[in-house]
């Protein structure tokens, strides 16, 4: 984990030096409270978009074109099922026994009847899928607000969720395979299939007035939704109106 963090930190440093030379328009902060690092974030976002346009998305598109829908869903199911240890541990850390039990039942069912997770039989019979990670646990433990942070290659994060992600490595089978066995194809496959799943959103991102802000808004709102297990506090609508 330390090695990986180090490498990410080095990558950030190199990138900021590279990008530092680029001319950038003066950015007035669009969300000073949650995104005070907007100037830096926009540069990384631009880099990520370039990488996505040149390599990531074309590969995902190719995969999407070759692979029929059914096996494509199967592969996604397989990877989602693998996240079970992370969800179980974090449900327990958050004191949510109901989620811990449900997730265990779901994992056992999908891993057996669902043939190693390729078939999501649990969803078919009405067992909900929960997604708990360390970032959410930190939020439940009190770190409610965290700054938005765009990472090279990895995309949207908050400082809290990035820290959570670094723990994640210890408990996720994919990271385990990479750490202990130098197996990289599970991670690569996971990322490509995930990107393929997100392809339908592309027209909305392309048509957005400000794609950076759109991705940030969607990420932060959805994150809030996950932290509060589907029932986040309502936005302060009156405050939006007061500016009127």
């Amino acid at each position: 984990m330390r090695g990986r963090l180090w490498r990410s930190a080095a990558a950030v440093l190199v990138l900021s030096m590279l990008l530092g030379g680029c001319s950038s328009r003066q950015v007035t902060l669009t969300d000073p409270e949650r995104d005070p690092w907007e100037a830096y974030n926009r540069k990384i976002h631009a880099f990520n978009t370039g990488f996505d346009n040149a390599i990531f998305r074309p590969v995902a598109k190719g995969y999407d074109a070759i692979m029929p829908d059914a096996p494509q869903r199967g592969v996604r199911n397989f990877f989602r099922n693998l996240a079970f240890p992370v969800t179980l541990l974090n449900s327990l850390l958050q004191g949510n026994m109901e989620r811990a039990f449900t997730s265990t039942g779901r994992f056992m069912m999908n891993s057996t009847i669902g043939l190693l997770g390729f078939f999501d039989v649990a969803t078919k019979v009405g067992i909900p899928r929960y997604n708990e990670d360390f970032g959410q646990t930190l939020a439940v433990w009190g770190w409610k607000e965290s700054r938005y942070l765009v990472m090279p290659f990895l995309g949207p994060y908050t400082a809290r969720d990035l820290l959570g992600r670094s723990f994640y490595g210890y408990f996720h089978p994919i990271s385990y395979a990479m750490r202990e066995h130098d197996l990289y194809w599970p991670l690569v496959t996971d990322l490509i299939t995930l990107r393929a799943e997100l392809l339908p959103l592309q027209p909305d991102i392309d048509a957005a007035n400000d794609p950076y802000v759109l991705i940030r808004d969607v990420y932060l709102q959805n994150r809030q939704f996950e932290i509060y297990n589907g029932d986040p506090p309502a936005p302060d609508y009156e405050a939006l109106l007061e500016e009127y």
Binding site: T30, D31, R73, D120, T123, K124, V125, G126, P128, R129, P203, D204, A207, A208, N209, D210, V213, L214, D217, V218, Q221, N222, Q224, F225, E226, G230, D231, P232, A234, P235, Y237, L240, L241, E243, Y244
Partner: protein, 206 residues
């Protein structure tokens, strides 16, 4: 004799109309969502083939059902924020009209994929809802057995409860659209933005 019959028919119509209008005023948000859903899905079920051939008809039906339930002006004001300074009532009207058309059309086009209203579950009210603002939570069953959470924000107006925001998986239409559109209104002016929305040059994200 004939006039009496006509008079009684007219008074009957008036009475039911008044009773209906009155009932509409007093319905609570959960009932509004339930009633609207079942009416739309019932109509969809009855006229499915007609709608599949001509989606414009479904759009019209949905518009008729939904428009009286939405506080368009409030939504528009939330979206514009301070960009709405100096906007005339007519401009606000046109803007909210353009926005709602795009949203309603997208919703109507998506409806055809659904089979019956059994796929939409309206959850009972919970949590702290004050008397002016509340949230109705619904779950849309998906084909694979999972569900998508769709919530509606309602506020109390002089004409009863009206919806003004939709939230899909925690992503609010008002918040998200506001951050896309308000900066454009500030630089390009509201008339240009309204025209662009109507022309389909601005996508509204769900």
């Amino acid at each position: 004799m004939k006039t009496i019959r006509i008079a009684s028919v007219i008074s009957f119509i008036l009475l039911t109309a008044v009773a209906w209008a009155h009932a509409a005023d007093e319905r609570d948000p959960v009932t509004i969502v339930q009633d609207t859903n079942s009416h739309i899905f019932q109509t969809l079920e009855n006229r499915r083939e007609e709608f599949a051939a001509d989606p414009e008809q479904l759009r019209a039906v949905v518009r008729e059902d939904l428009l009286p339930l939405i506080d368009l002006r409030y939504s528009a004001r939330l979206i514009l924020g301070k960009a709405g300074r100096g906007v005339s009532p007519e401009q606000l009207e046109a803007f909210s009209e353009a926005m709602s058309s795009v949203l309603i059309n997208r919703y109507a086009d998506g409806l055809l994929q659904f089979r019956s209203d059994e796929q939409v579950e309206v959850l009972p009210m919970k949590g702290k809802n004050n008397e002016k603002l509340t949230r109705v939570r619904t779950r849309i069953r998906l084909e694979n057995g999972g569900f998508a959470p769709v919530d509606y924000a309602f506020r109390m107006t002089e004409e009863g409860w009206k919806a003004f925001d939709v939230t899909v998986e925690g992503i609010s239409y008002v918040i998200t659209f506001r951050n896309q559109i308000a900066p454009r209104v500030e630089t390009e002016g509201i008339d240009k933005v309204t025209a662009d929305i109507t022309a389909g040059n601005v996508r509204i994200d769900d």
